[in-house]
Point group: C2
Chain length 390, copies 2
Amino acid sequence: MDINELNPDVLSVKPSALRAFDHEISADPEIVKLTLGEPDFNVPEHIKQAAIDSINADQSHYPYYWGIQELRDAASTYYREKFGYQYSADQIVCTVGATEGLAASFKTLFQPGDGILIPMPAYPVYKAIAGINHLVPIMVDTTDTGCVLTPEQVKEAIATHPEVTIKGVVITDPSNPTGVVYSEEQLAALVPVFRDNHIWIISDEIYGELTYGVKHYSLSKWLPEQTIIINGLSKSHAMTGWRIGFVFGPTGVIDQIAKAHQFQVTTPTSIVQYASVEALTHGQNDAEAMRKIYQQRCEYLTQELDKLGMKYVKPRGAFYIFVKIPEECHQDSFTFAHQLAKNYHVGLMPGAPFGDPQALRISYASSNENLHAAVDALKKELTRVGAIAE
Amino acid sequence: MDINELNPDVLSVKPSALRAFDHEISADPEIVKLTLGEPDFNVPEHIKQAAIDSINADQSHYPYYWGIQELRDAASTYYREKFGYQYSADQIVCTVGATEGLAASFKTLFQPGDGILIPMPAYPVYKAIAGINHLVPIMVDTTDTGCVLTPEQVKEAIATHPEVTIKGVVITDPSNPTGVVYSEEQLAALVPVFRDNHIWIISDEIYGELTYGVKHYSLSKWLPEQTIIINGLSKSHAMTGWRIGFVFGPTGVIDQIAKAHQFQVTTPTSIVQYASVEALTHGQNDAEAMRKIYQQRCEYLTQELDKLGMKYVKPRGAFYIFVKIPEECHQDSFTFAHQLAKNYHVGLMPGAPFGDPQALRISYASSNENLHAAVDALKKELTRVGAIAE
């Protein structure tokens, strides 16, 4: 059997460089990791107890493929109260984390050959899912506009790609990897260009509860008829490994996404569905304590990076800082990150997979002690190469 | 936005008729269901405890996308001992149930337009996943050969479909919906035709532990280089709603399937991965008690169906009987199943989605009391239409 005859879209996609790098450095027992985007907090106790109760109650049979009714009802209410989403339970599909929601949405909304705009820097999984669906990802560099996509950039992308029909855009707000949060005005400004060009908006709002001094807005406020929201409990309730996400979309479209979802996974794990009902009905404040700590860490890190003279876009949300590698280092992001891991046992994520080979992503979803270790390693390395004085 | 411009492969696939029918009749509080293919048993206590331990130990962070090492090690050993599989841990991907394993495998092995043989009657999800991947499902009727695919049927399908390159076949053994189990000779006879025509074998062995008086063989014994095995704990350990499956495949191919899997779901739920280690290391005999009870129920049901003069293929495994609707009923399977549900509050699965609109699938993964109710309903209905004497 010839491996080269397998599906070329699968053959050509690369495994997640983020997870591969994380897996690789994890072989070092001393490694301090600020790599993956996952809270260092544990699942709140009341949600853990709900999961245990579900196990003890033998709720282990097939849940309905959209997700159990109680969970979709709870998600409808919770996100209406949090962010003003206007979706009834029958406009919500429960997915195996945000990833599965993205996969089902990309599959459903687009046809092979369609173009999809990805404002850069971006979480690399969007490009991978686009590729695996034989879409044409069009990367739009937003570094000149503070890592915020503008209507002009969208128009320019359309004008410079006449060979592709651009059918979608991914907006990650708050952003991974930059922590940028779109203002109400910035989102409103994008509405006409998306509407006039019939562009589906994949609005990834998974970090929506984690903002620092600014409010999160959803594009669904302006364009519900062409917005698909991806959200979930991985970040807000520290439930990454439990794998629960939600897709919100207009009637007609969401029903199609539900089918793509059904034939991907059937349904998410029953235990987690029942536990998530608890999270959404009694865990409205769970994120707040974590949010405050993230904010303190963010302030600490930005102060320290300022002292080191390192450049970054000021983060207002999520739990990342996307920082430039000083020119004096003369190293691309993978070489630099490997060096740090090898010499100082500190893992920071290379920026190349996000679209900037001269940057690093620091996740501050990690203990203060780990953050100190990271700052210390950067200080030593920048001193060593002469980027800062001893 | 025009819904008709969504992906036509998603638009044209129908939601699972099985789950839709089950969901529909579940609105009746009195309904006795023998519909879905899920054990009426609960998850064994020691596995539930392992899940609870995992929750209490805060193992809630991202597991490696292939699945945790301990689980793949345990699966390697368990299935070697059970069925003689020869796969190391790095040839195993842990999936969100068998469905996700099927989705990742179909996506990876085939290209749009490729043909895939589906021996009928068959579990309808294969056709749906084929359709969503823009493959050409070629249904091969096996009713004349005892619901066992023969080399002659494969050759005939190839000869009569010169317009399609047939790249794959799905073998479900033991079979859903018929309960047929392939003998060693029947499998061995298929090997040359699959090998000579470079046909990938998707070998769905999810019911492998549930056989009655016959042994389960795996096609991977003969053709490991072109077999992808789908298995999991849904049936053997009554863990349907927990969603854990495994894909076994040759090096080179399994790595590609792992990528498709990663961009579908990231990884299955952490709790379930840890609990599944317990299932595979200390639950080798868990299926046996259930198997014995299923066998008794199967014997009871076949005796009763014989008394009613109903026709079916003798089941040797799984937990289904695929029974013909007597001609005297003059009803297709949906009408008949709806009638039974409405008049007697008994839910049997219509045969049409499996490929036979004159049959019903009875799942005996249901209590004896429920089986009695089903037999009673059939008896009344056949009496009513005059198919049997009062």
